[in-house]
Symmetry: C2
Subunit: 448 residues, 2 copies
């Protein structure tokens, strides 16, 4: 008899897990439950449809439902799982009753953090997540005149640009002194914020949201902040992600300090035969060991694949993460790996830093774009601790991927300063910014 | 008294060396001899001015002459060095007489290999190198109707596109079965050659050049090949680079199997107090150990910097190279690191290969471009041996840089298959092509 794996969640963690199971055991029975009408679409693309860079929501669908049927994955749509019983190895499914499993994979994802202020029940508060809801909200956006984005998160970077592109008076409210302050350094964000201002976006930093204010019909008319009222008819709630762990918590599965499920390197939870993946979990930072929660879809997908393989009897470790990240922001692209100066300082990790401004191609070539890149390294070993970049876009993502791997492999400033790089006028400059930053870091280290 | 370093050559090796000396010993006396009227320009940009992508030769000048004066580097322009005497520690300079040195750095560069056929004395043969000559040749190109590029080298990839852009009937002649056959694999070059054909370029492979044929005035009128005559009024001689080593050879400095000067990891030659850098040298391949000659300007510059630092009393190793490379070719960008299947086979190195076609951004995002990427790995250890890519351009250079460093650090297919990568719709797809290729390589390895 085939082993039966049950998966809860149809996002990147759940679909990655389904593929992982089938990769190890093609004959396995795989049943996946999702509360939504669709599967395998990319919610990360939603802001770009709102902004007009992607021309249709249909383009976000990665694989049709038939692809799952063909792969032998039994997807139950619009289905709610009510509880998990790890002792009996069953789950309770609304409308189906008790369902047994040999292996269970939890990929229940995230919810946006509650803004924690009055008025969240009003009409006009948009939580970017579900593609069908997004299609409805796109019509609301078309009729909006003034919008606010709450919390200067990565999603906010995308949404303020999208709203501004639509000609809407756009406000950004955040309690911190600058955008993305929990991950990016102020010098990296400075050009981004300048380009937000050029786009006409109103930036309200050091400003606390106090309430959403409604009209007589229960629709949003303004927000109240520590700096006064701002009239708006739409609010995008872009608060940080919190793990959707009510089901797992009720089943007694262990939860960590971030609220994420604790998993070992095989994505196994504290319960027998139960794995988890994606935003429902917490994962230790590769260097600092601090638990991280709310990473990106690519992490969720990779974790899902590992969880699926292990649930099917394979053995696949998911390594601790060094968090390469990147996103367009205003007219720039920002990115990095591991942490920047702000986080290193907050964690009390000593560092030296090398900064360079380089170009993506030879200076004399048309279309040349500047990239500012900084590298943090341990003052003694010179091992790379983190990196951040802001630039025109060329190669930011690939450099972030590389720098994360460099950190994982314990590369030093010396190693990066002596790396070979491509020189070809149209695609790469004589001095690669990574090499220049590493050399500047070594020079700074010498001066003490 | 300050130490005196003499540098022969004003290309990237020589200028890198001058900077290297000053970095270690700011008080050092540095005298640099160049036979040309200019210094610190980028000859690699010349094809792009011919093709119209760069609007003026003036843009290729990287630093004015005054910058060298300001840096305390005494450049002697249009000056020929006649000989080196390593016993007396002097060089003989035309018009200056005997000049002594404490340290000597040889950066005499390359010459294009002699085509070895009759007719090289004819007018109309263009060797792309000197910026002033290029300005004159640009006028010749403007009046040319039919041109041939001899040898399908990296320079040829740039020049055939430049000539075709100028509306000239363009031919490419090479004795091998496809372009760049000594470095790139045929599957990587196939789309490039298709785009050459779309540009109207006439490709003559498996075709041996037999002679340049002149008219009664001693000007080129055609070439004779193993496949017949081709009428042309311009020939770009894009043969491989050979080291300019007459001076060093006459001084008894040791030369290796490629004709390049033999240097140790500090860029020191066999002669006391004599260093060398750039195309005049040969450098061992980081994996295979085979000597390499005729690398790029960025290698020359980095070698020059190391040579300069060592010549000034510092200690800077230049590590063996893993040759990241990249260039636009037709409407594609190609690149790689270390070697591909053709070279591995020729060297008798066993390998397994993982191939993937990925995208530079999320599939649904506009402007998405395909990248084909393959990774060669050792069948037993799974350590990466080399990689090749062809794609729309995004991140090819940065991936080549990374893969070269991955090879240097002994990363395996497993290491690349488990790397974290950025997922952000506008800049990076869910599955990074490097990760997909590594996974496919592992799958292939399992099947045996």
């Amino acid at each position: 008899m085939p082993r039966k794996t049950v998966i809860i969640g149809g996002g990147p963690a759940g679909t990655g897990a389904a593929g992982g199971v089938k990769a190890v055991d093609p004959s396995a029975e795989v049943v996946l439950y999702t509360q939504f009408e669709d599967i395998a679409y990319s919610p990360c693309g939603i802001p770009y449809v709102h902004g007009g860079e992607i021309d249709s929501f249909d383009r976000l669908i990665l694989a049709g439902k038939q692809a799952y049927v063909d792969a032998g994955i039994d997807v139950h749509y619009e289905t709610t799982v009510k509880s998990i019983n790890t002792a009996k190895k069953t789950i309770m499914v609304e409308g189906e009753g008790e369902v047994s499993y040999d292996s269970l994979i939890i990929g229940t994802g995230f919810a946006y953090a509650d803004p924690g202020v009055p008025g969240t029940e009003l009409g006009g508060l948009y939580y970017v997540k579900n593609i069908r809801a997004a299609q409805e909200w796109d019509k609301v956006i078309a009729n909006s005149k003034r919008a606010v984005v709450v919390e200067a998160s990565p999603l906010a970077m995308e949404m303020v640009s999208a709203l501004a592109h639509r000609g809407i008076e756009t406000h950004l409210v955040d309690a911190n002194p600058y955008a993305l302050s929990n991950m990016a350094d102020p010098d990296i964000m400075a050009p981004v914020e300048e380009s937000f201002r050029e786009l006409g976006i109103h930036l309200h930093y050091n400003t606390t949201l106090e309430a959403f204010l409604g009209d007589s019909e229960g629709k949003l008319r303004a927000i109240r902040t520590s700096a006064g009222e701002i009239p708006v008819d739409l609010a995008v709630v872009a608060t940080h992600k919190t793990p959707n762990n009510a089901l797992a918590a009720a089943a007694g599965i262990k939860i960590g300090s971030t609220g994420g499920l604790i998993v070992d390197e095989n994505m196994k939870t504290s319960a027998p035969d139960v794995w988890a993946a994606g935003d429902a979990c917490e994962i230790p930072h590769g260097l600092a060991g601090t638990p991280l929660q709310g990473l990106t879809g690519s992490h969720a997908y990779a974790q899902g694949k590992a969880a699926g393989q292990n649930a099917a009897g394979g053995s696949k470790a998911y390594r601790t993460v060094f968090i390469p990240w990147g996103t367009p922001a205003g007219k720039w692209v920002i990115g990095g790996a591991s942490f920047g100066e702000a986080t290193a300082t907050a964690l009390g990790i000593p560092y030296i830093v090398g900064v360079a401004e380089g170009v993506s191609r030879s200076r004399y070539y048309s279309g040349v774009k500047k990239t500012k890149l900084k590298i943090l390294a341990d003052p003694k070993s010179h091992k790379i601790l983190g990196a951040q970049m802001v630039g025109g876009g060329d190669g930011i993502k690939e450099r972030a991927d590389f720098l994360a791997q460099a950190i994982r492999f314990g590369m030093t400033l010396e190693d990066l300063a002596t790396m070979d790089t491509v020189f070809a006028p149209a695609i790469g400059a004589l001095t690669e910014p990574i090499v220049a930053a590493a050399n500047n870091g070594l020079a700074a280290a010498k001066k003490g």
